[in-house]
Symmetry: C2
Subunit: 226 residues, 2 copies
């Protein structure tokens, strides 16, 4: 795909949101949508939407509006969700289990193929038809399976080691739920989900509300994080 120049990360972060809304439109058999209609549903301005889409060539709005099916397909392709991605979860605690059960992932083209942990009492247990394996088996597992994404739901003090292990096995994308900011070599991408950071941002917004100084912050853009 020929992108028009560097794409700001904020634009990339809005794409999944467009994709979700387009999915809803398709589920409701809506075939055409104008940037104004999309803007009303999503809370962005119509000009923002057109500006975002222009990074990807504009998606050919003609006359009345965008072809929903076409837009859905194009944005899906940009996000790479048109191609199946396989993932393993490291850490089968509550969060790992929650992620394993989040079957929504599968419908978007993400397939969970393995779950690993260090705890003897967890190994051999079954989550959604997948047997938890010992972390020591991961090298061999990845050598025999094609794994795109490693999900880290391990404690802080294990995160760096596990990340190194996965990268050494050839995994190039990490979804990191540990509170550590991972330092990774070039050619590896990481998406950090720092839950406590998110909670502190909420705490900040609430404090602003409570002290009546909430006019000073860009509440909408904070609240509408995608």
């Amino acid at each position: 795909m020929n992108y028009k120049g560097d794409i700001p990360s904020a634009v990339i972060r809005r794409l999944p949101r467009y994709y979700r809304y387009l999915t809803d439109l398709l589920n409701n058999d809506i075939q055409k949508v104008s940037s104004r209609e999309l803007s009303e549903r999503m809370g962005f301005t119509a000009s923002q939407i057109r500006q975002d889409f222009n990074y990807f060539g504009g998606f050919g709005q003609q006359g009345y509006g965008y072809n929903v099916q076409y837009l859905y397909k194009e944005i899906g392709a940009i996000l790479g969700v048109d191609k199946k991605k396989t993932m393993v979860i490291i850490g089968a605690g509550n969060l790992g289990r929650a992620l394993a059960n989040y079957m929504n992932f599968r419908t978007k083209g993400f397939e969970l193929v393995g779950i690993f942990d260090v705890k003897k009492e967890l190994i051999g247990q079954d989550i959604n038809g997948i047997r938890i394996k010992c972390i020591d088996e991961i090298d061999e597992f990845i050598n025999h399976a094609n794994v795109d994404i490693g999900v880290l739901s391990v404690p802080y003090d294990q995160a760096a080691d596990v990340a190194d292990k996965l990268v050494n096995c050839g995994i190039r994308a990490l979804w990191n739920f540990s509170p550590m900011d991972l330092q990774l070599p070039q050619g590896v991408v990481v998406e950090n989900v720092h839950l406590s950071d998110s909670l502190m941002v909420l705490s900040f917004m609430l404090s602003q509300l409570q002290t009546g100084s909430d006019k000073m912050i860009d509440k909408k853009s904070l609240g509408l994080r995608v």
Copy 2:
């Protein structure tokens, strides 16, 4: 606190990250830090850090650097984590349990005071010493307890109803893990954690890597999301 003008949401989103690094410094008995040292640890430029801090009056860097304890205290106060906040979790599935067990919250001044669900088989069970109650009891519970934050770990089709219920009970801050973008009245703040959006951003980055076109995106700012 007198903030200097409107603070961009990106700056607010970096504050928890500063707070985490300052916590590490304190734990290592480091009492002074320069913006350059902080920059090396965190991966931001020193000028970015000074610029961020200037929104809050600069935190008085003098000579060698910042006083770590002072900076930690000030940023904590801005984030509102210096005052205890109470929270209830709605939805005691795997994700709700993971959040309940994430005791890290408590050390940062967040105290879990109640867990609610609709499922009869869950009600009465115990998570970390807190008995799961029926969602129908929530009005009365909130009338008798001071609850600052409602955590929504419920499915898509229940999110809007539960959010309305909490807001009607007087809760002004929602931490929303359901895949729905909540429409809330003024005077209520919401922090959405859309896990599938986050996974799709990772998928995008991986696709860029695989097609060799990763030079076109601002990888660092994507990867270093705070």
